[in-house]
């Protein structure tokens, strides 16, 4: 498969791994954060930790949109969807995320009209096919998915589709990285920068990380070779005591981003003064709301939204894990009360959540190694 097989070539991967071993100073411990949940997933899926030297520690960042969504937002949307005339439409990975009274899938089993869609335009199609109902699309994601929601809003307005609205939970990546860097218990050496988000926002918004915080950041693709090459680039910068923004994912990410996408976002969204992030608390100017010109298609303006706030279960340490302060397995609930089948926190739900990835791919392997005393 073009653009996939080349980046999974064992020979190239072994060569990159060898280069990493040569570059890594054995007397130094490297803490690199992969911001994006897609990277976390890929690191586990391809077993990359097995081929990295032990003194390179990968810290999982906050870039999993499902994981950072506070439970109250799900409760709010499900409260609106209690109306039998409302169809709740969302992406597949929202479906198992627990609300206070169960996930969207559990609500579906109890009779709520819940549909999985694969893009927001599918939700428009759904609205056209069900003219007597109102389709509420539960929009979620960073700048990766926000442009498609923006275009959908524009289309709904242009075509005059009145039985459709968006419950907008879009968030922006830069304030989250800033919150992590501001966290006093966080010591990082560099960032593996988001790939998909950067296709939209480009590389320029990361420059302050290099300039003000003196941390290197490399925008990175999602194949094993992408990740290893990015680690090589970070190690080279660290070796030379440099801090630059570099773009490893040039085949997809233009330095300036995607102007058309940014324009569509600017026309339909504006920054919220503040927004609550699960585990990170309220972060100012970190999320998008729908502009008043599109109020008719904004679920929050169109329906009575209760504004539910739910504190995370006390014992769950999602926040610390999300910030990379704790490893998933260091949370008190990990693998006990909280498993992929019965998730307490959202990090255990999405395949990009660090807890689910760690549980599925690493935790059981680690247990096996511990129980049998040999490497498998």
């Amino acid at each position: 498969m073009k653009y996939v097989d080349e980046f999974r070539d064992p020979e190239l991967i072994n060569r990159a791994a060898e280069q990493i071993r040569r570059l890594a100073d054995p007397n130094r411990h490297y803490r690199l954060m992969e911001v994006c949940g897609g990277h976390t997933h890929a690191i586990y899926r391809f077993g990359l930790k097995d081929i990295l030297p032990e003194n390179i520690e990968l810290i999982h960042g906050p870039g999993c949109p499902v994981c950072v969504l506070p439970m109250g937002r799900i409760d709010d949307a499900l409260a609106v969807a209690q109306d039998p005339d409302v169809i709740f439409a969302a992406f597949g990975d929202m479906m198992r995320v627990p609300g206070t009274h169960g996930s969207p899938l559990e609500h579906k089993a109890r009779g709520m009209d819940v549909r999985i869609v694969y893009s927001p335009t599918d939700a428009i199609k759904l609205a056209k096919m069900n003219p007597a109902k109102h389709v509420m699309f539960f929009a979620i994601g960073f700048e990766t998915t926000a442009p498609s929601t923006a275009l959908t809003l524009k289309r709904a307005k242009a075509e005059g589709i009145h039985n459709f609205s968006v419950f907008c939970n879009h968030v922006t990546i830069i304030p989250a990285i800033r919150a992590i860097l501001d966290s006093p218990d966080m010591r990082l050496d560099g960032f593996i920068g988001p790939g998909h988000v950067s296709t939209v926002i480009g590389c320029r918004p990361y420059e302050w990380i290099a300039k003000n915080e003196h941390k290197p950041i490399v925008v990175c693709g999602f194949e094993p070779l992408d990740l290893l090459q990015s680690i090589v680039m970070l190690l080279k910068q660290l070796q030379n005591d440099e801090a630059k923004v570099e773009n490893q994912y040039k085949r997809v990410v233009p330095w300036e981003g995607n102007r058309a996408a940014l324009k569509a976002m600017a026309e339909t969204f504006q920054l919220r003064p503040y927004f609550e992030w699960r585990g990170l608390g309220f972060i100012s100017q970190s999320a998008l709301r729908i502009r008043d010109e599109y109020a008719e298609w904004d679920s929050e303006q169109r329906f009575h939204v209760p504004g539910i706030r739910v504190t995370d279960p006390k014992a769950a340490q999602c926040g610390e894990v999300l910030k990379g302060v704790l490893k998933p397995s260091q949370c008190k609930l990990f693998g006990k009360e909280c498993t992929p089948e019965n998730p307490v926190g959202a990090l255990m739900v999405s395949s990009e959540g660090s807890c689910a990835a760690y549980f599925n791919y690493e935790h059981r392997k680690a247990n096996l190694v511990a129980s049998i005393g040999v490497s498998v």
């Binding site: 077993g47 930790k49 579906k108 990009e352």
Partner: protein
């Protein structure tokens, strides 16, 4: 009651504690297994539950018989490469085949929704008759129920199949040994991805057909080439290859090691899985089977399989090892590895 009578009469232990049935309980993965092992098995079989297999082995008046039953609720009714009727026959025939039995007869029940068009029903009956003829099974009887419009989705089919155990084959996960090889009959994921695309909910098109077919000729070829060496067989339907192999690992108490790069997958399936964030190892198949074969007979089994029509893409995809006990480890060419679990719930595409 004397204490003596209590010994050996243990009350069935119901372990299923979930308050309601969810879609996941029918998806063939972990939740399905919890339901069957935690509620059905204790109440139906008591404490004597054996490892669950694709077909039950009965002995009636000295004659051995394999029995299996299955229901089909697929939507859409017709998809590239097959339809619900054809699937109902082949799915049942395949369960018998991988139990080491020659399919003989099928009885069938239809649950029809009032308002179903006759031509739609007729097309499915024709598809069933054709599939039965091709598989060499007799449709021996049936039943029809009609429910109110809106109480079922067009049509559901339930089939029960009877088969004659093939001589010289003993399917038993307990007989699996370290060193045994794992054979796969062909590329995975075609059926699951075809159905996902045929539902028309994705703005994606692919040149894909369901792999639904009768696997008995291929099973038979393996049996003839390596009969005494066959330890275990399974058709990896819902939950995919990963779920079947996890069941094997649990039932045999050994480790299953899968060489990821040996697993045949069509490019269209790989592409769709990459885009949707699904693992092809969790995607359903309808025309493939897995076999665990003793190492000294594995090459003969593979050769026989490859020479049978439809078996040319068969491969050895892994082997049994002592570790990791009860789990499936997937290894990559460059030395990485991961544990792959059964499917949890339905496969849900991720967003970014």
């Amino acid at each position: 009651m004397s204490s003596a009578t209590k010994i050996g009469v243990s009350a069935p232990k119901i372990r299923f504690r979930e308050p309601q049935i969810e879609m996941a309980h029918g998806a063939g993965g972990k939740a399905s297994r919890r339901l069957v092992e935690g509620l059905f098995a204790p109440l139906f079989f008591g404490a004597s539950a054996e490892p669950l297999s694709d077909a039950a082995q009965l002995k009636i008046n000295g004659a051995r018989l394999a029995v299996t039953t299955d229901s089909f609720v697929v939507k859409p009714l017709v998809f590239p490469g097959g339809s619900i009727g054809e699937l109902a026959i082949n799915g049942t025939v395949n369960d018998l085949a991988v139990s080491g039995a020659k399919p003989q007869a099928i009885v069938v029940t239809f649950i029809l929704e009032a308002g179903l068009r006759t031509d739609v029903l007729q097309a499915e009956i024709e598809a069933m008759a054709k599939a039965a003829q091709e598989a060499g099974v007799r449709i021996a009887g049936g039943d029809t129920k009609v429910v109110e419009h809106g109480k079922a989705d067009s049509m559901y089919i339930t089939t029960t199949g009877l088969g004659a155990p093939l001589p010289g084959v003993e399917i038993n996960p307990q007989s699996v040994c370290p060193g045994d090889k794992i054979l796969l009959s062909g590329p995975i994921g075609d059926h699951g991805i075809t159905i996902l695309l045929a539902r028309g909910e994705l703005d994606m098109e692919g040149d894909l057909r369901s792999d639904t077919r009768c696997v008995f000729p291929m099973v038979n070829a393996v049996v003839e080439a390596a009969g005494p060496g066959i330890r275990w067989m399974r058709d990896p339907t819902r939950g995919g290859v990963a779920t079947s192999l996890n069941e094997l690992a649990r039932d045999c108490g050994l480790g299953v090691v899968l060489f990821e790069d040996s697993v045949p997958i069509h490019d269209a399936v790989r592409g769709a899985c990459e885009l949707l964030g699904l693992d092809p190892l969790h995607i359903a198949n309808e025309g493939q089977f897995l076999a665990v074969v003793a190492p000294e007979l594995a090459d003969a089994a593979l050769k026989a399989l490859k020479q049978t029509p439809g078996g040319d893409e068969a491969r050895i995809i892994g082997e049994i090892r002592e570790q990791p006990v009860g789990s499936v480890l997937v290894t990559t060419l460059y030395g990485g590895s991961r544990i792959i679990d059964m499917l949890v719930g339905d496969p849900l595409p991720r967003i970014c």
